[in-house]
Point group: C2
Chain length 126, copies 2
């Protein structure tokens, strides 16, 4: 049986309030002032739990994992300059169907990861 915990609430709420796509460490440092006793392990543990429950999404953009509490359909872009992750609020249709035509198995989900340069980095490029 899964028990309630103030830490998990804080972690989930923190993620909901943020518009960036924080790493576990980002959340950890963000909550430290509020919960000084918080452990990084607890953050990882609860993020995994929340993802397992389908309440948040893990964005595995290669190196460090980032998280997102926005469950609405959208994709992400990784800026190849600054490493930030941006929301791409679009709805793509027929993606799974197209794959199903050529794949002999079950397709559960898809995610698109764009790469490029954000407007901020475009401004100060060489």
């Amino acid at each position: 049986m899964t028990k309630h915990s103030r830490q998990r609430d804080a972690i989930y709420n923190n993620l909901c309030l943020r518009k960036d796509h924080p790493t576990a460490e980002d959340i950890y440092f963000s909550l430290k002032p509020v919960l000084p006793a918080l452990s990084l392990a607890t953050v990882y543990r609860n993020l995994a739990m929340l993802e397992e429950d389908g309440r948040i999404i893990r964005i595995g953009s290669g190196g460090t994992a980032r998280y997102d509490a926005d469950l609405s359909e959208h994709q992400h872009l990784l800026c190849e300059k600054c490493g930030k992750v941006f929301d791409i609020m679009i709805t793509l249709s027929g993606i799974n169907e197209k794959a199903a035509e050529v794949f002999d198995g079950r397709i559960n989900s898809y995610s698109v990861l764009y790469k490029g340069f954000c407007s901020g980095c475009l401004g100060r490029k060489k």
Copy 2:
């Protein structure tokens, strides 16, 4: 100036010959019999170099990175049961354009990662 090396050739050729999507370690063990002195660091170094040169693709399927020497347009599916990566040979159109409509920056590329179950795992599921 980048010099030629028999190790890099071996690593690239090994990747080209394989139809699976090997990890650095997979390639390392695969080449050990041929190049007994090969170091795992050399495999990582050259895979990074080859990716930088655009000769191979790194598939960042979350945990361990996998590599692919097939540069033709296609996507990948990660089997959530066995962890194997499968090719999804499809061409998607309009993906970048759709994102460009809502993103204020430059879009360089995209990749789709499907998740699901391969036919092998579907057979022996609970």
